[in-house]
Structure formats: structure tokens, C-alpha cells
């Protein structure tokens, strides 16, 4: 069934009811469209509060939509919530584990919520516990944050989901555990599981996702394959310049007027220049200053450049 559309969102909107303070309610998701096929990996990127998790909660059928239309696995989340949830796995941003229980008990109880029989759970446990090294009978309270994260991920697989929703899956994991997880997700994807994840790491997005959507303020502001997004929006080098207090604004204006050849961004503590040629920009900046304020007592700006 490859090519089948599993998730289809049109003009999806979510407004949270007003809480103390704002009278209107908060529009966390503001009319977004996307479509997902079987075995596809889709990533949401974006700053804190962009509405990534809010979007995922709609797809997971644990939060009613306020506007637009949404189909998941060919069903309507408002009507067929339990059925959709039975075929979806969710890794929430905060783990929500039962801390007083052991790793094994957590997996067992969660499996029972899906109505799975003891025998089926026992069979699946063997495979899932591999993600947790030798911690099967340890109490969750005593686990490190990274281990808890792995348990949350193992838990989400207990019902062998067709769609897996992961909210910042590798936050808090060490590099090795991250690769173990990426490997696992990659295998799932090959088995035809559709992945939807949010992340703050560009490398993770690039590794795992076929397509990315960048969200900001509840809207999708850019969409495409990782490669396309990088080609369209990322310059080869990023030049960071630090100036003595008070000179920063002048310097950034001068850089802009001087036609540095990239985007210039003024931040509280530094000026950032996005350019394809950092050396040229640096030379120009030095030139700007020496020609216009020869008596400046400033030292050379510190410089970091990174290539992608």
C-alpha cells in the first residue's frame, strides 16, 4: 500500500480556550496543510512554542481540532479517536512514566491499556527491552533521564503502531544512544511505519526525515526535503562578529550598506552575517571600520565560522 495517504491536514487550526489574562484564547496552530504517506518520515522544526506539539496532538487524536479538516488512517479523529489511537504510537515531550513501577511493569501496563493479552505483551517485551540494556527490573525512579527517554520510546512501540509520533525523541540522550535510536527508527521506517517527529537538531532532521516543515507562530513557514531547505535558506558560512559595547549598531549598518553580500542580523551580544564567503565579509568589516573610524580603540573582533 505504499503511496497511500495516512495523514491529511487541510487548514488545521487549534485555538486553546482563554486562560487567565488573554481574553481571546491562544491560536497555537494557525491553518496548516500537510500530507503524509506510508513509510514516510516527516519532521517539524521550529522555536519553542511554535505549535509543533499542538499539531502532533491533533494527529494523535487526543485533542479536538478547532478548524480545518484532518484525516488520520482514513478516519476522523473526532469520531474514531480510540481506533486511531490504537494504531498510533506516541512519545510525548515529557516522559509521563509511572515512576514507582519498574521498566517491565511500565511496558506491561501500557500494553494492557491497548487491550493486548499477557502473552502478546510478553512476546513483544523481549524485543523492546533490548533498547534498555539490563535495566528491565529497575524502578523508573532510579533511571537516568536518557534511560527514561528510551523507555518512553520502547513503550510507544508496544502496540506495533503504523504511525509513530515523536516529540523531541533524542533530547537528553548521549550520542551513542542517539545513534541506537536513529537506527531503530530507520528500521521502523523501512518496515513501513510512518514517522512524525519534532526536533531542534538540524542533523537529526537531516538524518531521519524525508520532508521537513519549519513552523513559527502556528504556521508552516518553509517546507521541503532537508536538502532543499538547506540549499534555499542556509548559507555556506556564518560569520559572528563581536564589537565593544555601543559600536555594534553602527557596525551592522555599515556592513549592510557596504554590501557584504549576505543577510546581516543584529543580536544583543553580536552581529551575525550569513554569507557564502566569510573571509570576504570579515575583510570588508575590517575595512569598513578602519576607513571610517580610524581612532577606534577596539580590538579585533572574535570570529567563528562554520560551514554546512
Amino acid at each position: 500500500m505504499s503511496g497511500a495517504v495516512l495523514v491529511e491536514a487541510r487548514g488545521l487550526t487549534k485555538t486553546y480556550p482563554p486562560r487567565n489574562g488573554d481574553a481571546q484564547g491562544h491560536r497555537a496552530v494557525d491553518g496548516i496543510d500537510f500530507e503524509l504517506g506510508r513509510g514516510e518520515a516527516f519532521g517539524f522544526l521550529g522555536p519553542n512554542g511554535a505549535g509543533k506539539a499542538s499539531t502532533m496532538r491533533r494527529v494523535a487524536a487526543i485533542s479536538p481540532v478547532s478548524g480545518g479538516s484532518l484525516r488520520v488512517l482514513g478516519m476522523d479523529p473526532a469520531r474514531d479517536g480510540p481506533e486511531i489511537r490504537g494504531r498510533i504510537g506516541v512519545v510525548p515531550q515529557d516522559d509521563c512514566l509511572d515512576r514507582e513501577l519498574t521498566v517491565r511493569e511500565n511496558l506491561y501496563i501500557y500494553g494492557r491499556y491497548f487491550g493486548l493479552s499477557k502473552a502478546v505483551i510478553r512476546e513483544r517485551l523481549a524485543d523492546l527491552l533490548a533498547l534498555l540494556e539490563d535495566k528491565a527490573d529497575e524502578q523508573v525512579e532510579a533511571l537516568s533521564g536518557g534511560m527514561r527517554r528510551r523507555l518512553t520510546i520502547a513503550r510507544s512501540l508496544i502496540n506495533e503502531p503504523e504511525i509513530l509520533l515523536l516529540d523531541e525523541p533524542t533530547t537528553g540522550l548521549d550520542p551513542q544512544a542517539r545513534h541506537v535510536l536513529w537506527d531503530r527508527l530507520f528500521r521502523l521506517k523501512q518496515e513501513g511505519v510512518t514517522l512524525i517527529l519534532t526536533t531542534h537538531y538540524m542533523d537529526e532532521a537531516e538524518q531521519l526525515c524525508d520532508r521537513l516543515a519549519v513552523m513559527d507562530g502556528g504556521k508552516i513557514v518553509a517546507e521541503g526535503s532537508p536538502r532543499e531547505l538547506i540549499d534555499a535558506h542556509v548559507t555556506r558560512e556564518v560569520l559572528e562578529l563581536r564589537f565593544p559595547t555601543g559600536e555594534q549598531e553602527d557596525a551592522s549598518t555599515r556592513l549592510r550598506d557596504g554590501g557584504v553580500g549576505g543577510r546581516v542580523e543584529l543580536l544583543p551580544d553580536r552581529v551575525v552575517v550569513y554569507t557564502d564567503d566569510g573571509e570576504a565579509a570579515l575583510a570588508m568589516r575590517t575595512h569598513c571600520r578602519s576607513s571610517r573610524s580610524p581612532h577606534s580603540s577596539a580590538g579585533p573582533p572574535s570570529r567563528t565560522s562554520s560551514s554546512s
Binding site: S63, P82, R85, C96, D98, Y110, Y113
Partner: protein, 185 residues
Amino acid sequence: MQTGFIEGGGRVVAAAGWQGSYRSAATTPLEPAEIMAGHLLFVAFRLLTSNAAFVVVMAAFGVSKGWWVIATLPAALLTGLAFATPIAAWAVGLRSPSKMNSAFRFVLMPMYMFSGTFFALDQLPHWLRVAANALPLTQGVELCRSLSLGSATSLEVLGRGAYLLALAIGGIAVARLTYRRRLHP
């Protein structure tokens, strides 16, 4: 009442909030109303077991007369649920346990004092006695007491039982809404 409050109040705030037990259960096929029902079953279990312990002690010391004491089990269960369900309906929407603590101090404790649990209501002035009689705890206490002493009339049992049942069912009806609102925001 106390068991109903603890298991249906503080524990619900924790499960809906920092503990996350409700949030993780909500991602499974379970519906909010089923999660609520599961929690209330647990409350009922706690009520029955702790009441059973009371009954055993009462029987051992010969406080109660005859087999009627067994009838206090459902009566005490009903009393506990009449508190637990409305409290759970309220607690599930709370973001922190501080309001729950205030409710205990300013609502539950005074009710405890004026419900005939510790002293007979005849000692109160008339108007206060009327008010105290309307308290759900008074109804529950009188129901359990008369049953355990074997002095209950069927009219009294029906009246008090219906009052408590109405509270318990009303609590469930409201909790169905508040659980959905919190678990499926």
C-alpha cells in the same frame, strides 16, 4: 469521606498533572471517561477495603449488633463516592494541589465537625442543626450508624441513600466533561 477525598482529590490532581499517568493513558485507545471510571473503581476498592477493616474492628469489640453491620459496607461506599466523584470532577482541572489543600482545611474539616461524627447534633442550636442535617456527611454518618446499630427504618435508608446516590451520579456526570476537557485539551 476522608478516603474519598484523598483518593479522589489529591491523587487525581497528581495523575492529571506532574505524574502524567492520565496523559500517558490518554494516548491509548482509552477514552477520558474510561480513565475516570478506572480511577473511581480504584477509589471504590480503597473505600471497601478500609471500611471492611472498620467493620471487623467494630464486630470484634461488640460495638454493633447483629448482621446488619454488613449493610454499612455499601452505605459507607456510597458515602465515600458521594464525595469522591464531585471532588474528582473538580480536581482533574487543577494545575496545582494548593487549592485542594485549602478545600480540605476550609470545607472538609468544618463539615467533619458539624456532621454528627464527633458529637450529637442535638446539642446545636436549631438553625445550625437544620443546616448540618443537609450536609452529605451527616446523611452518610447517620445512614451508617443506624445500619450498624440495627435501628434503621427503610424510609430513612431510602431517603439518605437517594441523596448520596444523587451526589455520586451528579459527580460522575460532571467528571465526564471535566476529564475530557483536561485530557483532550
